[in-house]
C-alpha cells in the first residue's frame, strides 16, 4: 500500500516535471525542472530495489550531466528570434521522430515476457549487498559490454575536443 503510494507520487511528479521541462519559455527553468525529474527517477529506482542505480542517477545525472546541460545552455545563450527559427520551427519533425520512438518502445513492451525468477531475488541481494552483486555480475558475465563502454567514453572526450577546440583557433 505504502509502496504504491510512493510509486504514484514518483510517477506523477516525473510526468509533471517532464511536461514542465519541455514547455517552459525560459530554458534555464526547464533545466531546473529536469533536475527535479532526475531526483524523482532516483526515488523510483530505490523502490525497484536498485539502490546503486539510484545513487548513480543522483551522482551522474543530477550531478555531472546537469552541469553539462547548464554549460551548454549558457554557451549557446540564444536570442529569442534565433531560438524560435532553429528549434521550435521544426517541431513537426520532432513529433514524428518521438512518436516513432514511442511506437518502438510500446511494441517492445508488449512483446516482453518475464521468465522464471533468477538468482538475484530481494533476499539474495540483501545478503550480498547491491554493489557487490553488480560488481560480480558486471566484471565476469558482462566484461565485453563494459569494455565497449570505455570506448564510448573515449569517443566522447575526443569528439568534444575536436568540436570545441577547432572554434577557438
Amino acid at each position: 500500500m505504502i509502496n504504491q503510494a510512493f510509486f504514484f507520487y514518483f510517477s506523477a511528479v516525473i510526468v509533471a516535471t517532464s511536461l514542465l521541462a519541455i514547455t517552459r519559455k525560459n530554458v534555464m527553468h526547464g533545466v531546473l525542472y529536469m533536475l527535479l525529474l532526475f531526483f524523482h527517477i532516483a526515488g523510483l529506482y530505490l523502490f525497484l530495489n536498485a539502490e546503486f542505480i539510484s545513487a548513480v542517477q543522483v551522482i551522474v545525472y543530477a550531478g555531472a550531466i546537469m552541469v553539462l546541460f547548464l554549460f551548454v545552455i549558457m554557451l549557446l545563450n540564444l536570442r529569442d528570434d534565433i531560438r524560435k527559427k532553429q528549434f521550435i520551427a521544426t517541431w513537426p519533425m520532432g513529433l514524428l521522430v518521438s512518436s516513432g520512438i514511442l511506437m518502438v518502445i510500446l511494441m517492445a513492451m508488449l512483446t516482453i515476457k518475464t521468465g522464471a525468477h533468477g538468482v538475484w531475488g530481494i533476499a539474495q541481494l540483501e545478503r550480498v549487498t547491491q554493489t557487490v552483486a553488480i560488481g560480480t555480475v558486471m566484471y565476469t558475465q558482462y566484461l565485453f559490454p563494459f569494455e565497449v563502454a570505455s570506448l564510448v567514453l573515449l569517443v566522447a572526450i575526443i569528439g568534444a575536443i575536436v568540436l570545441a577546440k577547432k572554434r577557438i583557433k
Binding site: 555531472a64 550531466i65 560488481g135 566484471y139
Partner: protein, 123 residues
Amino acid sequence: MPGTYTPVGYLPVLIFLIIALGFGLGSLLFGYILRPRRPYDEKLSTYESGMVPEGEPRQKFSVQYYIIAILFVVFDVEAVFLYPWAVSFDKIGLYAFIEMILFIVVLVIGYIYAWRKDAFLWD
C-alpha cells in the same frame, strides 16, 4: 515490479528530506507572515552593485566550459564503474583486474589526448 519492495533502510533519508523541506518552507512562510511590505520602484529594480544595470543579464560563456563539463562527465562515469569493481574485488579475481586496467588505459589515452590538445589550458 513496483510495489513489492520497500527500501526500509532509506527511512532516515526520507525523514531528513521532510525536515529539510519543512525547515526551508517554514522559514520562508514565517518571514512572509512577519515582514513588513513597503515596496517602491527603486527597491523593486534589479540590483547590480549599486550601479544602473546595463546589457543582457545572460552573457555568452566560453566554449572551454563545455570541454571541462564533458571531461567531468566522462571521469565521473569512470569513477562510478570503479566503485562496484573495488567492492567486489576479492570475488572476481585476476581476470577482472586486468579488464579494469584495460578500461583505465583506454580512458588514459583520452586523458593524454586532451592534455596534448591543451584542453586543460584556458585561452
